[in-house]
C-alpha cells in the first residue's frame, strides 16, 4: 500500500474525526451554558438533579458512556434505536455521548467564569437601570468569555484527541482506519502517521486560541 493510498484512506477517517469534533463543539457549547444555569439555580431540586447528572457524567469513563448510549437501548428495550439512521447510526450515537459529556465539562468552566465576576459588576448594572438579562448578556457574559478562553482551549484540544474513542462503537475515525490498515496490510507506520494529523490540527487550534486571547486582552494592550 503506497503512501498516497494510505494518506487517502486516513483522510477519509480524518473527515469523520473533524465532523465529530465540530458538531460536538457546536452542540456542547450552548448546552454547557444551560447545564451551568441549572447547576447554579436557586431552585434546589433542579440544582441537585443537574449536579448529580454532572457528577455521573464526569465521574464515569467516556468509553462506557458511548457503550451505554449505543448498546443499552437495544439490550434493555429490545430496539436498536440507532438502526434507522443506517450507516450514520454509530456516528449519531457517538455525537450524543460526546455532546453530553463535553457539555458537562464546559458547564463547570462556565460556572467558574461566572462566579469569578465580582458582585460590583452586577451592582453597577443595577445602578444604571439595566434588567437582569441585560446585566448578564451585556456585562457578565462578555467578561466570562474573556476569562474562560484558556481553560476552554485546554478542553477543546482534549476533545480533538478524545474523538478517537468513538472507534469502540466502530465509528470509522482516523485511528480506526489506521488500525484497519494494520490488520489488512501489516503496516504499523500509518498509526504514527495518523498522529501527525492530530498534531497539525491541534497546532492550528493553538494558534487560533492565542489570537483570540490576544484580541480579548483589551486591559493589557
Amino acid at each position: 500500500m503506497s503512501f498516497a493510498n494510505v494518506t487517502l484512506e486516513l483522510l477519509s477517517g480524518f473527515g469523520m474525526t473533524c465532523l465529530l469534533f465540530i458538531l460536538t463543539l457546536a452542540f456542547a457549547l450552548p448546552l454547557g451554558l444551560i447545564i451551568c444555569f441549572g447547576s447554579m439555580t436557586k431552585f434546589k431540586p433542579v440544582r441537585y438533579i443537574v449536579r448529580g447528572f454532572v457528577w455521573i457524567i464526569r465521574g464515569t469513563p467516556l468509553m462506557l458512556q458511548l457503550f451505554v448510549v449505543f448498546y443499552v437501548p437495544g439490550m434493555v428495550f429490545n430496539t436498536p434505536i440507532f438502526a434507522p439512521f443506517g450507516d450514520y447510526g454509530r456516528f449519531v450515537a457517538a455525537l450524543i455521548a460526546f455532546v453530553i459529556n463535553y457539555a458537562c465539562y464546559f458547564s463547570e468552566i462556565y460556572r467558574g467564569g461566572i462566579e469569578s465576576i465580582s458582585k460590583g459588576q452586577y451592582e453597577a448594572g443595577q445602578v444604571l437601570g439595566m434588567t437582569k438579562g441585560q446585566i448578564f448578556f451585556k456585562i457578565v457574559l462578555k467578561q466570562v468569555i474573556k476569562n474562560i478562553v484558556p481553560p476552554m482551549s485546554n478542553e477543546i484540544i482534549t476533545l480533538v484527541k478524545d474523538t478517537s474513542l468513538a472507534r469502540v462503537i466502530a465509528v470509522a475515525d482516523i485511528i480506526f482506519k489506521a488500525e484497519e490498515i494494520l490488520s489488512l496490510k501489516a503496516l504499523i507506520w500509518p498509526l504514527f502517521y495518523a498522529g501527525a494529523f492530530y498534531l497539525i490540527f491541534n497546532g492550528l487550534l493553538t494558534l487560533l486560541f492565542r489570537r483570540t486571547e490576544k484580541s480579548l486582552s483589551y486591559f493589557h494592550s
Binding site: 448529580g52 457503550f67 449505543f70 448498546y71 443499552v72 437501548p73 437495544g74 439490550m75 434493555v76 428495550f77 429490545n78 430496539t79 436498536p80 440507532f82 438502526a83 447510526g89 472507534r167 469502540v168 462503537i169 466502530a170 470509522a172 488500525e179 484497519e180 494494520l182 490488520s183 489488512l184 496490510k185 501489516a186 503496516l187 504499523i188 507506520w189
Partner: protein, 262 residues
C-alpha cells in the same frame, strides 16, 4: 447523611429495574424478526481471506461469499457491518448485528452466551516469534518460561496459558504480533489463518511461524443470539451447500478447501 442514603437507594432501584428489564426477553422468533426486515446483518472485521474489500472496493472473501450464498437460499439479503471485535457479543445482544460471521472460533465459554451454527472450517493456533529466534522454538517445551502475548478472551490466550506462565492479554491479535516485534514478549499465539496472511509481510517481515509446535485444533462457526431459531435454518442451508459442492467451490477460490469441515 440522609441525602446520600436516599441517593444510594435511588441508584439501586434504577440498577435493579434495568437488570429485570434485560431479563425479560422478547418472545418473537429471531428468524421471523430477520425475515421481516429482509436483511441478515453479519458482524465482521476486515481481514483476509475471510471478509475484505477487493481492489474495486467490493466486499469479498470466503465468509462474505458464504454468507451471501446462505442468505440467497433463505430469501434475505446479507449485509456486512464492520464492528469492533471486542464488542461483538454486545453488538449481537443489542441487535445491531444478527450474527458473528468472521472466522469465529467455537469455545465452551462462548457457547454459554450464544448459539453456534455447525462448524464449517477447521483452524489452528500457532506460535509466532522473531524470525532470528524461531529455530529455538522446536517444541511446546521450548516455550516454557518465555513471555507470551495473545488476544484477550481468544482461543490463543488459552493455548498460551498452557505453554507458559507469563501471558499478556492484549486487545487484538495484531497487537499480540506488535508485542513480539517490539520485543516486549518472546512469542505470540494467534490464528494460523491470520498468521499466514500477516507474518513475513509488511512491517511484520522479521517474524516467523514456529512450525514445530502443534497446538490443539479448533473450528469456525457462525455465532447467533442465545436461543435463536436461525441456527437450524442456517444449518439446513449449510448442509445443502455442502451436498451441492457450492461451499467447496467457494473454499477452493480462497485456498481453504483443505480446512473445510464436512
Amino acid at each position: 447523611m440522609k441525602k446520600i442514603l436516599i441517593a444510594l437507594v435511588a441508584v439501586l432501584i434504577i440498577v435493579t429495574a434495568s437488570v429485570s428489564l434485560v431479563a425479560c426477553n422478547n418472545s418473537k422468533s429471531d428468524y421471523e424478526y430477520i425475515k421481516n426486515k429482509g436483511t441478515l446483518v453479519c458482524g465482521i472485521t476486515l481481514y483476509e481471506p475471510m471478509n475484505y474489500a477487493d481492489d474495486e472496493g467490493e466486499m469479498t472473501g470466503f465468509d462474505t461469499e458464504f454468507a451471501q450464498a446462505v442468505c440467497e437460499k433463505l430469501g434475505i439479503e446479507a449485509k456486512f457491518q464492520v464492528i469492533k471485535w471486542s464488542s461483538k457479543e454486545t453488538e449481537l445482544n443489542s441487535k445491531y448485528i444478527d450474527c458473528i460471521w468472521n472466522g469465529f472460533t467455537v469455545t465452551e465459554e462462548r457457547k454459554q452466551n450464544l448459539d453456534f451454527s455447525q462448524s464449517y472450517l477447521s483452524n489452528k493456533q500457532c506460535v509466532v516469534t522473531k524470525a532470528d529466534a524461531v529455530a529455538t522454538y522446536t517444541s511446546a517445551a521450548a516455550c516454557a518460561g518465555k513471555r507470551a502475548a495473545a488476544e484477550q478472551g481468544s482461543a490463543g490466550e488459552t493455548a498460551a496459558n498452557e505453554l507458559t506462565t507469563t501471558v499478556t492479554a492484549v486487545a487484538a491479535q495484531m497487537t499480540a504480533l506488535t508485542e513480539v516485534k517490539s520485543g516486549n514478549v518472546d512469542f505470540a499465539v494467534v490464528d494460523i489463518v491470520l498468521a499466514n496472511q500477516i507474518v513475513g509481510s509488511g512491517d511484520y517481515a522479521n517474524l516467523a511461524i514456529a512450525t514445530g509446535i502443534d497446538l490443539a485444533g479448533e473450528e469456525y462457526a457462525i455465532g447467533f443470539r442465545k436461543g435463536s431459531d436461525m441456527v437450524e435454518k442456517v444449518n439446513a442451508v449449510i448442509k445443502e451447500l455442502l451436498e451441492s459442492g457450492k461451499l467447496e467451490e467457494i473454499a477452493t477460490k480462497y485456498g481453504l478447501q483443505g480446512q473445510l469441515v464436512k
